[in-house]
Symmetry: C2
Subunit: 137 residues, 2 copies
DNA sequence: TATAATATTAGGAATTATTCCTATTATTGA
DNA sequence: TCAATAATAGGAATAATTCCTAATATTATA
């Protein structure tokens, strides 16, 4: 049985107003301004719980720590190979991708995740070769 | 400049003959039969290096350790929510997915990864609710 | 073939990211 | 108001991976 907690509410509100897919550590640092004694374990527990009940999304990019996304409208993610930033990406035409994947497969395809890689708009535009600062914290 | 190493060749050969997407630890345990003194660090270094030069593929499922795939023919992966096994999945009709993702995006989409989730053929067939043994090692 | 340059290794320490443990505190239903 | 129990803080523990260093293997070239 789920009980209300001020810490969890604060974490969810924080994510609802961010569009940069922060890590657990970044969430922790920010929530500490309101709850100076909150522990990193509490942040992780609530992030995982919120993801399980479908209030937020967990993004495992395969490089670096997991990230979290408060935007639950259907969308994909783009990860810049250059600066490492993670951006929202709406892609239409992929509505039937699970059905495509089911062809010639004996099991049941119930969902998918997809990450797109390349150069983000800022890095693509830059003439200089230094990656621009990653917008993370 | 890349120099030949017997350990790296052995790791690549091992993966070329496996279809179960082993973890670094599993690779390590198996390569130890030929090289009893090989270190886990060497296994990781070579797996990452082989992945970088495109000889093998690294699979980050988001749960548990990374897995490695010696099959470089274009294909996707399916991860069973029930038993955790990782299977190859060929999906046609996704050839233009990077172009779709590029619509209304200022940057450059150069690639993507996608993982499909659900019940593998074995688990879908099972009447009992216990997950069947994961084929990992 | 011998030598020099340097890439790779073994072994283990260190780091990173995350989960787990426990006594205390907060929430909630009765 | 009280009892049941979910959630927390704080920190230890774990899992996965990377990093460090002296020794070894590979390779280009003399």
């Amino acid at each position: 049985m789920l009980k209300y907690s001020r810490q969890r509410e604060s974490i969810q509100n924080f994510l609802a107003n961010r569009y940069d897919h922060p890590t657990a550590e970044t969430v922790y640092q920010n929530i500490r301004e309101e709850f100076p004694n909150i522990s990193l374990g509490t942040v992780y527990r609530n992030l995982n719980l919120l993801a399980e009940i479908g209030e937020i999304q967990k993004i495992s990019t395969g490089a670096g720590p997991d990230r979290f996304d408060g935007n639950m409208h259907p969308h994909y993610h783009f990860i810049c190979n250059h600066c490492g930033c993670v951006m929202d990406l709406s892609v239409s035409g992929l509505e039937h991708i699970n059905i495509l994947a089911s062809q010639n497969f004996g099991g049941a395809v119930e969902g998918h995740v997809a990450y797109f890689y390349g150069k983000c708009p800022t890095c693509a535009e830059d003439k200089i070769s230094l990656p621009h600062t990653q917008k993370t914290s």
